[in-house]
Each structure stands twice: as C-alpha cells, then as structure tokens.
Symmetry: C2
Subunit: 298 residues, 2 copies
C-alpha cells in the first residue's frame, strides 16, 4: 500500500496543475495544443520554429510557476502530406530547445490527421513542496512587474505578414524562437519575490485581467512604463500574444531588493495592484479603463 493519497494542490485555472508527490516536492504539469492554421501558418513559419515553439509554450508555463522543467511528452497528429524533411526540421527545433532547457522527451503518441498538423505538448516540472507561484497571490499594494519587452512577438508576426516572407533579423526572434524565462521564474520563486506570477501568452491586458481575477483584485498600470521597443505600438504591447514574458507581482516590502535584471533579462515595474476590480491605464496622469482584449489566433 502507498503511504498516502497524492493530493492536488492546484487544478484547472493556473499555468500548470500542481500535484503533491512527496513531502518535499510538488510536480507541475502543463498541456498545450499547437495547431496548424490556428496557432501557426506553415507558409510563414519554418518547421524549426514550429518545433521550438511547441516546446517553448510548455516550458513557459513551467517558468510561470517558478518550476524546474524535467520531462516532455509529445503527441503529434500527422497529415498524409507531411514531408520527412519538414518533420526532421520540426524535431531539430524541438530538441534544440529541449537540450538547452535540460528537458528529456519521455513519451508521446502519433496519429494520422486528415487535415492539419497538430501537436499536444505536455511538460512536467518540479518545485519544492508548497513553493510554486500561483496566479492567485496578488494583494492590493503589490507592484506589477514584467520581464523583457512586450509586443515583440506581435510586431515580428505583423512585419512578416506584410513582407510575406520569413524575417530573419534577431529582432523577430521573440516570435519565432522565444526564450522561456525559466531562470527568471526560478529565481523569483527561490528568493520569494513573486506573490503571484503567470506568463504572457495572450497579451498583457488579457493575461493581467486573469491574474487579477484569480487574486480577486484589480490593477492600475502606467502607459509610459510598459517596456516596448520604439517600433512597437502600444496596442502590440497591450494585446500582442505569444511574447512568453513573465508577469508577476511583488510586495512593496520586497520590491526594493529586486535586481534590475535577472539572467540578462530586464525587469520593469509597470503598475500596482488595487482593491477595486478592473484594469485601469494611467496616461499622462489621466486614468482610463483598460479594455480587456487579447491576442486572437488565426
């Protein structure tokens, strides 16, 4: 007989499910679909990027809990027309990221798909028991922080749509080869900086509204503080999807000790958690409600 029943610390509603597997350790599990013509277009995205992003989306969910990724499971729906070179390149992209993240492919399945290619990625990770950072821990007065620059992925995608060919500039890497913020998430969890955390995959306004909802609070963010490159529009930064940056909150007591960057990734304070529900955007000292609009896939 097993000593005790495994418990579910967090089910549906966060970036990962959190399962208690021993007195010392929690297991994190995330699943993500990546479907051709819904999440990516084959003619605009090379297969290495498709393979890379399939895994990156799962790793970003583990990073969002402050977890350490361990294993991946990959189920593929393959259309009859899938060519071998495309699939080899897909796996090249997948395993390049798996290798650098220290993740082992431990299982999966393949099946035929009558139309589009699809991948379902499952990533498991771990964190010491009870330490995974949830979406629900933000409190009024906490500062709101983000990693990197927002809107880069949307900008890269839009520029490529306009030029009709794959843009190779390093500026566009955030869309095609986004680096999951694993080390940043882990640092924030280990040093107990983050009271709540999630990744930005559907745009800041939509994802911030989710974090606020889970925490039963509201947020006020300053337009001027949102970190974006000069070419990126405010709309890209607020609504652009797939940035895979981290959004987290820090109590004012701890915020003073937060370093300006972690592992080479810049951290920026963009606002504050408030008790009143809803999102507010502060522009030149004028407050306006921020509409919750997120990234729409194809």
């Amino acid at each position: 007989m097993l000593p005790r029943r495994t418990g579910l610390r967090q089910g549906i509603g966060d970036d990962c499910a959190v399962l208690s597997v021993s007195a010392r350790k929690d297991l994190l599990v995330t699943t993500d679909l990546f479907i051709e013509n819904v999440h990516f277009l084959r003619r605009w995205q090379n297969p290495r990027s498709v393979g890379y992003k399939t895994l990156a989306r799962g790793l970003s969910d583990i990073a969002a809990m402050g977890g350490i990724p361990r294993f991946a499971f990959l189920s593929l729906g393959l259309p009859a027309k899938t060519n071998e070179k495309w699939l080899r390149d897909f796996f090249h992209g997948f395993f390049t990221l798996a290798g650098s993240a220290g993740v082992v492919l431990a299982g999966g399945d393949t099946g035929r798909s009558r139309s589009d290619f699809f991948a379902d990625i499952i990533v498991t990770g771990e964190a010491p028991a009870g330490t995974a950072v949830m979406r629900s821990g933000a409190r009024p007065g906490d500062q709101i922080w983000v990693t990197g620059h927002l809107g880069l992925a949307a900008w890269g995608l839009r520029t490529q749509e306009r030029t009709k060919r794959e843009v190779r500039s390093s500026e566009f890497r955030r869309f095609f080869f986004p680096e999951p913020r694993i080390n940043v998430g882990r640092f924030l969890r280990e040093r107990k900086f983050a009271s709540a955390m999630m990744d930005i995959s559907d745009g800041l306004s939509l994802d911030l509204s989710r974090l606020c909802e889970a925490s039963c609070v509201g947020a006020k963010i300053k337009e001027a503080n949102i970190p974006r490159r000069p070419d990126c529009s405010l709309r890209d930064a607020l609504q652009g999807g797939e940035d895979l940056e981290l959004l987290f909150t820090v109590s004012p007591r701890r915020a003073g000790s937060l370093p300006p960057s972690i592992d080479g990734v810049r951290l920026t304070c963009i606002g504050e958690i408030v008790p009143q529900r809803g999102l507010v955007l502060v522009r030149r000292n004028r407050e306006t409600p921020l509409p919750v609009q997120g990234f729409q896939h194809f």
Copy 2:
C-alpha cells in the same frame, strides 16, 4: 535547491513512462491520441462511448504497469460543427469512468480543429518505487497469461458495421465501454506475480511480439487455450484491437499460486516464453509460425 535530480526509469517503449519522483514512489505517465475517423467513427459510436474510451485507453496503460491511476489531463481539438449535446455526452462518458476509477481531471487545453474531432489524453498514476511492471521482464520458461476473453471488441465492431447501427447488447460492451483492468494489474504487481506485462490494444499477436521484443525472447502459444467466446473467430482473438485486456508473464515457480480470477476477471494461461525469437502457434500439436498482424484503425 532540490535534493536530487528526478530520474527517468523508463522512457519511450513501454505502456507508460516511469519517473522516479521520490525515494518511495514512482510516477507513471501515458499519453494517447483518440482521433475521429482514425480511431473512431462518429456515426457508429455514440459520444458517451467516445468520451469513455478516450479515458479508458489511458487507464489501461496505467493498469498495464500495475499502477494506481490518479490524474487526467485532456486536450481537445474541436471542429466548428461540434454540437453542444455531443460534447456534453462525451464528457458524461468521460466523467463516468473517471469517477469509478477515482481519477481527477487536473488540466488540459482546447483548440479549434478545421476538420475532425480529436482528443489527447494524459493519465498519471503511481506505484511504489521500482515496482512498476515493464514489458521487458519476460524470461524463457515463464508462462503467458491473459485476462478476460480476446477478440470481443473486434467482434462487436464488426457486428455493428454489418448492422449499420449501434448494438446495445452487453456482449458488445467490450468495444464501446471496455473496463480497464486496473485492479487486476495492481494485484499482479503487488503480489509480484507478473514478470512482464502490457495491455492488448492492437491485437494479441502484435502486442505479444512487442513484449517478446522488449524482453529479447520468443513465445509459443496454444490455439486451443486462447480464451474467446464461441462466436468470436480465431482471427478476431489474435488480431482484433482495442480489447484492453492484460497480457502478462509469470515464472513457473509463482504460477501455481495464481488465482483463477481476480476481481471477477478470468485469467488464462495461453502459452510459454521460449528463448528463440519469433511467435509460434500450436494447433493440434502442430507448430506454425504466427504472423504478426495487428489491428488496423480506420
């Protein structure tokens, strides 16, 4: 810092991946695709059965390791034409089995599918460290055993194809609502009866050849011993897929203590593991090579 790196006891190539998560416990993980027009036909199979079987296939993989199922993660690709009633019935079937197996749905994802419905099911389970029963443990001289009757699922499917409507007789339940052999697998693992084990999902001959390959052995089975209902053909019993019965081997030393049935499920010895590779069928004392042919999906 975590005390030690999580290890992978068994990766791709068995019914489940086996991850070492603590000194006392291993985690089992299986993923299975269930695709419309590949694994099931919507016009022949009601949505309750589709939802039930989606989970049953994953549970059967956990049973095949002797594991105790705990959590499920479900990713669904939904065509625009999916109607609400169909989906509600799908979940009714899914949760009926989840409830009876004591499994909690802990996460998942949904996405749009441009053509067919698909489900990717992930089931996690557990077993005391180092005790999960692999495919690779069969040794020459071990007896080969199976649970229940073979070929029932293929027979049910074929009869329905002929009559063009869903057959409701309890005889056909093995195809539409197969009961995963969780208690049998667990019993065999706890009492250390099984030297190797797997589930029969692609037909006896194909699955037995996989077990033999993993164990570097061959097998000799007796036609007369293969448990089948009078109406079922030998071909159904050898090549019929989706029975979700268990196939396992028992050392001759332990075989004498094996009960005739476990949890109401009959156990039958069908042959013996031999050192020479390949499968042999014994029919009226004549030995013929058994061709390895498995169940082909639609």
